[in-house]
């Protein structure tokens, strides 16, 4: 094309540059009269512009034969989603149908309850609730609680008050009954403590054994001999033979200190 313009020549009163400018008008059919005649005459005589007209005409015909392509069905909704973030169907519903008046309860239901219910309906949550219910029912059965008993509970204020006082009296009675037992247990524990001094910690014993380089056998082997020591000590016990049944372990520990 640039070569063609460079070698511009005039024939039939029209140059190649002018021909180029008139070409689109001629193809569009807006060129008429003497201008068209001159244009056609130039096309017939010029070896460059003649084929150009032919090719341009053919190209235009090809292009005019192209039909419009149908955009994908999802294109509009994709565009709306990427621009406004609103789905087309929802948008259409919002704009073309009047909004009905809703009560506060319906609002709460739509805003809070339904989303929560949608979560609860998920299989994993349903499974969890099922397991929790199963565990609860097993626990109640083991504990001897029957659902029938729960249903018979009276929720009247006077009944609740009576239940409260009954429960309190039961607790007080239990504490009163258990007190002598606790006192005896405390006395025995005190006696035991007086008899047995504090034992060294096991870690200390382990450490001593590790540092032992005397090649002596372990004290574990001497455990039988400790029985003698026990008897000797207990012989001087003012409490008498009742305390001779004290655990052997404590005596063994004592021997190690000796």
């Amino acid at each position: 094309m640039p070569d063609r313009i460079k070698n511009d020549h005039t024939s039939n009163g029209i140059g190649c540059n002018e021909f180029d400018l008139l070409l689109s008008d001629a193809l569009d059919g807006v060129l008429s009269g003497p201008g068209l005649d001159r244009f056609q005459a130039h096309a017939r005589t010029c070896k460059t512009c003649g084929p150009l007209l032919e090719e341009a005409e053919a190209g235009r015909t090809w292009l005019k034969g192209l039909t419009e392509v149908e955009p994908p069905a999802s294109l509009v909704s994709n565009i709306l989603a990427s621009t406004t973030g609103v789905d087309t169907q929802r948008l259409r519903t919002m704009t073309r149908t009047p909004q009905p008046h809703i009560s506060w309860w319906e609002h709460v239901q739509a805003s809070y309850l339904e989303p929560m219910w949608a979560i609860v309906r998920q299989p994993r949550f349903a499974m969890s609730f099922g397991m929790a219910f199963f565990a609860l029912s097993v626990s109640l059965t083991v504990a001897g609680v029957k659902p029938r008993d729960v249903l018979q509970i009276s929720l009247r204020p006077s009944a609740i008050k009576r239940t409260y006082y009954n429960t309190q009296a039961r607790v007080v009675r239990y504490v009163d009954n258990v007190r002598p037992v606790l006192e005896v247990q405390a006395a025995l524990r005190g006696i035991k403590r007086n008899m047995n001094p504090a034992e060294p910690g096991p870690s200390k014993q382990q450490k001593e054994r590790k540092n032992d380089t005397t090649q002596q056998p372990e004290q574990k082997q001497d455990r039988n001999y400790s029985q003698t020591g026990e008897k000797l000590i207990l012989a001087g016990d003012p409490l008498g033979p009742s305390n001779r049944d004290l655990p052997v372990v404590s005596v063994t520990t004592y021997r190690r200190f000796v």
Binding site: M1, T61, G65, E68, V69, L75, N78, S82, T83, R92
Partner: protein, 199 residues
């Protein structure tokens, strides 16, 4: 082509936040923009992406549209054209290895151009032949340089007048005419050569 006042009203409503007005704009122009993108980019996937990009850009810059400066469709076409040029620059490297036998379209049957020549001696079906012909022209269109391609698309496929094209492409009207002539001639030459090879 468009009622200026109606479009101006739509744009004002969009700027005010009316989602329905924006949807109307999308419904009105998506086909046109998609077709420009499809003919320029060559593939359906690229055309979809580019169309979405055009609308996203339109949505963001809608307030900058000045009805006194030109028609809305020209403004839309300018945005489309600018994005197409950007896309062309970005994908320039990918097309370096393209040849006439490359498969450029996934919208239609992925066949090389030389294999898409219609068998005129024994056409199996007129519709199929027409479709194949369209594919051939579409592929040949993709072989034009972007300047010529955009000019012929806007003129011969979108029926825009020279003044509107000149505004959209930001070049003088004479340049537009010259590009259209050269584009048509190159396309004609390319298709005639292809057909001669087959004949």
């Amino acid at each position: 082509m468009e009622d200026v006042q109606v479009v101006a009203m739509l744009v004002r409503r969009c700027i005010a936040g009316d989602a329905a007005a924006w949807e109307e704009i999308v419904q009105t122009y998506n086909r046109r923009i998609y077709n420009i993108c499809y003919r320029f980019a060559g593939t359906s996937d690229d055309a979809q992406d580019l169309t979405q990009e055009v609308f996203i850009k339109m949505y963001r810059t809608l307030s900058s549209y000045d009805a006194s400066k030109g028609a809305f469709v020209t403004w839309v076409t300018t945005i489309t054209r600018n994005l197409l040029v950007d896309h062309f620059r970005k994908t320039k490297q990918d097309r370096m290895t393209d040849s006439m036998d490359s498969t450029a379209s996934d919208h239609e049957d992925a066949q090389p151009l030389s294999e898409q020549i219609p068998d005129q001696s024994a056409p199996p079906d007129t519709r199929v032949r027409q479709r194949e012909l369209s594919q051939t022209v579409h592929q040949a269109l993709g072989k034009l340089s972007p300047e010529l391609r955009e000019a012929v698309i806007l003129r011969d496929l979108q029926d825009m007048d020279y003044k509107e094209i000149a505004t959209a492409l930001r070049v003088p009207e004479g340049t537009v005419k010259s590009r259209i002539n050269r584009g048509r001639a190159e396309l004609g030459r390319l298709l005639q050569r292809t057909y001669r090879q087959v004949m």
